[in-house]
């Protein structure tokens, strides 16, 4: 036993080189670049909605949703990204309080939808689900997938998480939410039912898929 381990220790010590430490700042910088790229994509391909363009000229929108919708998904994305940055070390864990904004934001959106359904009924609300659904889904999924690829290449595969499934879920939620926040700068569908059943479902299904398939990939070996 001793000789094998001695040999191994000699080999590892001889092989030692200074390493580049895992720094969360790299993750945040990459996420910033990714979000800017996604925003530029939305601007050049779809263009921003009028209220956002007016906002850039200092004119506040008449209601909160043109700001609130991107802000909601931005909050979800940043919170999830924060969890991703915390979880990437073997000894790290996250507390429920640290991801509370995810539950808070989702809760607000769902309560709003419930209020809309209670006041307008399902039929009237469902009519607001007809526009740009495919475009919204496709943008969130394609953008989220590209984000996941970059995240995997430059962050996830270098880490060693103790919670691979949670890490995968948070990664999926982060990339899909940030893409959704960029797309929301274009989308004029502001009904709560649309935000939950189109955006919310797109982000949730993406998150679930990444959690399902990503968990094994992220297991510390």
């Amino acid at each position: 036993m001793n000789s094998h381990l001695d040999d191994l220790i000699d080999r590892l010590a001889d092989d030692l080189k200074p390493v580049r430490l895992l720094r969360a700042s790299r993750l945040w910088f990459g996420a910033f670049i990714g979000l800017m790229t996604a925003t530029a994509f939305v601007f050049f391909v779809y263009s921003f909605r009028p209220e956002v363009i007016a906002l850039s000229k200092g004119v506040l929108p008449s209601h909160f949703t043109p700001i609130g919708k991107p802000l909601l998904f931005f909050t979800l994305g940043v919170t999830a990204l924060s969890a991703v940055s915390r979880l990437n070390r073997p000894e790290s864990e996250i507390k429920l309080l640290q991801i509370f904004p995810i539950f808070g934001g989702s809760g607000i959106a769902i309560v709003n939808m419930g209020f809309q359904l209670a006041t307008k009924g399902w039929n009237a609300s469902a009519r607001q689900l007809n526009e740009n659904v495919l475009s919204c889904f496709a943008t969130i999924w394609v953008g989220g997938s590209l984000g996941m690829f970059v995240l995997w290449k430059y962050w996830l595969r270098q880490g060693a998480t103790s919670f691979p499934r949670a890490m995968a879920a948070m990664s999926g939620l982060a990339t899909a939410s940030l893409m959704a926040s960029a797309y929301a700068l274009h989308c004029t569908m502001d009904a709560p039912v649309y935000i939950v059943l189109v955006y919310g479902v797109a982000v949730t299904v993406f998150t679930g898929t990444v959690a399902l398939f990503g968990g094994n990939l992220l297991r510390l070996r």
């Binding site: 036993m1 094998h4 381990l5 191994l8 220790i9 000699d10 590892l12 010590a13 001889d14 092989d15 030692l16 080189k17 200074p18 390493v19 580049r20 430490l21 895992l22 990437n88 070390r89 073997p90 000894e91 864990e93 270098q158 880490g159 060693a160 103790s162 510390l220 070996r221």
Partner: protein
Amino acid sequence: MRANRTCTPRSSCRTDVRSVSVHVLAMIIPKRASVEPRVSVNSETMSTYSPDEWQAMMRAALDGDARAYRNLLQSLRPWLVDYFDRRLRGADIEDLVQMTLMSLHEKRHTYDPNSPFMPWIAAVARHKLIDYVRRAKRRVHVELTEDLGLADGLGTDLAHRDVAILLAQLPKDQARCISLQKLEGFTAEEVAQKVSKNTSAVKVAIHRGMRKLQALVGGRSR
């Protein structure tokens, strides 16, 4: 610098160990065990742990200091042997130590030099342990002892975390029953009173919970 502590595997634990053979991997410590690590000396299997020195050596190793790294690995070796030996009776400890040292080498960039070293190395070792149980797919001896974790110098929080990770994967009632009986030392009757169930239901919940834990870590169900 904290003084080195000397502890031995299995030494003082033997007096009050509740030893069971099950299919699951469980690193369990009672929540009521707010005691200092028991320290005793056994000249044959003595291991020392010195977290502050290891942290300093690891920091130097991250900068490429091969001598400090060699010292770190050498001094970690007996600690790892004890760590695995305490948890798995009859396992291939050498393999586990080798795999852990290799994993330490490959993942050393994930260590934060400003954080304590023990939680990091304990997490790496725990992963190797879980991988071993998954691959071995055979009966694994589990010791439920008040000293497990503390004897490794890990502290109750880390030992509790090991347990929490496992129990979080069970339905709440099963996890609570296991926690009350296996961790807090209540009898099945006392657990039944606490969870407002009859004793048979508690025994069934514990049995199913343990079987599920085994399935979760990759072993065969009986």
